[in-house]
């Protein structure tokens, strides 16, 4: 089996994700650094983003109901 290799690490303190996922995060107004990453090499996946967004709206919902 291949050794696990680090995917190319974006420099400049950016969290790790494939370019289109980074764009999606931006469109969704999400800071990648806050998202729990489950992808290969510790990268954030689309699913991670959607899970994060869902959790965020759940948190926001009761507050809005007050």
């Amino acid at each position: 089996a291949p050794e696990p290799v680090a995917a190319p690490q974006p420099t400049g303190g950016k969290a790790l994700a494939k370019p289109p996922v980074r764009k999606l995060a931006k469109d969704m107004g999400i800071d990648l650094a806050e998202v729990a990453a489950t992808g290969p090499g510790g990268s954030v996946t689309r699913e991670d983003l959607h899970a994060f967004a869902a959790a965020r709206t759940e948190q926001a919902a009761p507050a809005a109901a007050e």
Partner: protein, 462 residues
């Protein structure tokens, strides 16, 4: 007093150009009831008097140039001249094929197509031929027309605009092109290929002055080689008729004589006398002001395309039209990043870019934070095969994403798609560099540029 059309539409769209028809197609696709009002031909400027016919002329010019230069490639062919009637036939064939296709698309989707000139009569109604069309929402998409300068009269014969130039039934011996922007340099290029003696007059210091200065300089060098003359930083002061042509005078005292003058100093919005102001739509110098969702100051009215003060490009019209349609259908579209819209000037050689210029990057990020790289097409096999020259220039935020891609060279306009993904997805040079590009393509040059910017040049010096 107008008759009421029986239904209330979800959207009434005024103008069937790139912006209007894209909105109509997308809205109807999303289940909205759409009326599309067009006084002339659906497809608008782009299809009938803009993008498409100019590119057909430019391609005919390419064919002419290649016939002239065929011996360089070992092909014996004799160039005998341009058959302008044949060029128009070819051009019109392209237009009519696409026009038929577009009409077919409109017919297939549930769109009420209204032929006639419309006028906004309230925030929710447009009147056409004495009939009133009511919509829960109105989209204004009446586009633009050529502008001139104060005191410079277009006669349609010796002093013309792009509209006339596209149907000109002869090849002039010589021409002055006033304006070195996209439209001006495209006509200059096509005409030169047709054998016209061309001089461009541009008030700003460069051709295609909104491009990165490097691209402008490369284009100027290429045009100079082609024998296209230009007067940069030269303001027009007047034009007189001569025996069989015109004489253009510049503020610097120079004069240029030619058979005709093409005025390509920009296009202005079609917004006068259409009831926009009366409905309370906020405007600025004829342009309709919109927010990032293309909504005007009147909540039931949106505007798209050349009518609003964003980039005057067909695909910007498409994007804006789609965005409004999606918003009205209750989707949550993402605002357009205009810097991320690809720009192509289809002259020979082509100029293409996406993202921001080096100058703007330095303003935004500070001069010390901006890194640039130039890759010369001289190292690119396919470009050598095509015998084209040029460069790719990348602008990067130090240790960060590529924020500008600027390209010059024949066919380089086709590279703008990959550049568009790189810019909009904020890719790092190393992420592009990791993917070795196809050999031998021009596309490879984009890969090489990113290899070099990532610190690992392959077919380039360190």
């Amino acid at each position: 007093m107008a008759n009421d059309a029986s239904t209330v539409f979800d959207v009434v769209i005024l103008g069937g150009g790139s912006g209007g028809y894209a909105a109509a197609l997308r809205a109807s696709q999303l289940g909205l009831d759409v009326a599309l009002i067009e006084k002339d031909k659906v497809g608008g400027t782009c299809l009938h008097n803009g993008c498409i016919p100019t590119k057909a002329l430019l391609h005919a010019g390419e064919i002419a140039d290649q016939a002239r230069e065929s011996a360089q490639f070992g092909i014996n062919a004799t160039f005998e001249g341009v058959d302008i009637a044949g060029v128009h036939k070819y051009k019109d064939g392209v237009i009519s094929g696409l026009y038929k296709g577009l009409q077919g698309l409109i017919a297939l989707r549930k769109i009420t197509y209204v032929a006639g000139a419309g006028r906004l009569t309230s925030p929710t109604t447009v009147e056409v031929n004495g009939e009133r069309y009511e919509g829960r929402h109105i989209i204004l998409a009446t586009g633009s027309v050529p502008k001139s300068l104060p005191g410079l009269e277009i006669d349609g014969d010796r002093v013309i605009t792009s509209d006339h130039a596209l149907v000109l039934d002869r090849i002039p011996k010589s021409a002055v092109v006033l304006g070195g922007g996209v439209i001006g340099v495209e006509f200059a290029s096509a005409w030169k290929s047709f054998g016209v003696d061309v001089t461009i007059v541009e008030a700003l210091p460069h051709l295609v002055p909104v491009e990165d200065e490097n691209s402008s300089k490369l284009l100027e060098r290429a045009f100079r080689k082609r024998g296209i003359k230009f007067e940069l930083g030269s303001r027009f002061s007047g034009v007189e008729y001569t025996q069989d042509g015109i004489r253009v005078s510049l503020e610097n005292g120079k004069q240029v004589e030619a058979e005709l003058l093409l005025v390509a100093v920009g296009r202005g919005p079609v917004s006068q006398g259409l009831g926009y102001e009366e409905a309370g739509v906020a405007m600025d110098r004829g342009y309709i002001l919109v927010d990032e969702y293309m909504q005007t100051s009147v909540p039931t009215i949106s505007a798209v395309g050349d009518l609003v003060p964003t980039l005057q490009l067909a695909h910007v019209g498409f994007a804006e039209g789609i965005l409004v349609a999606e918003r009205l259908a209750g989707l949550r579209p993402v605002p357009i990043d205009y810097d991320g819209v690809p720009r192509v000037t289809y002259c020979h050689p082509e100029v293409a870019s996406v993202g921001i210029t080096e100058e703007k990057a330095k303003e935004l990020y500070g001069a010390d934070k901006v890194v640039t790289l130039k890759y010369n097409l001289g190292g690119n096999g396919k470009s050598k095969i095509l015998k084209t020259q040029g460069e790719i220039k990348l602008v990067q935020v130090r240790d960060g994403a590529v924020v500008g891609v600027h390209m010059v060279g024949d066919r380089m306009g086709e590279q703008v798609g990959e550049a568009q993904l790189i810019y909009n997805w904020e890719a790092l040079p190393s992420e592009v560099a990791q993917l070795v590009h196809a050999h031998p393509t021009q596309n490879e040059a984009l890969g090489e540029a990113h290899l070099a910017l990532a610190g690992k040049p392959l077919h380039a010096h360190d």
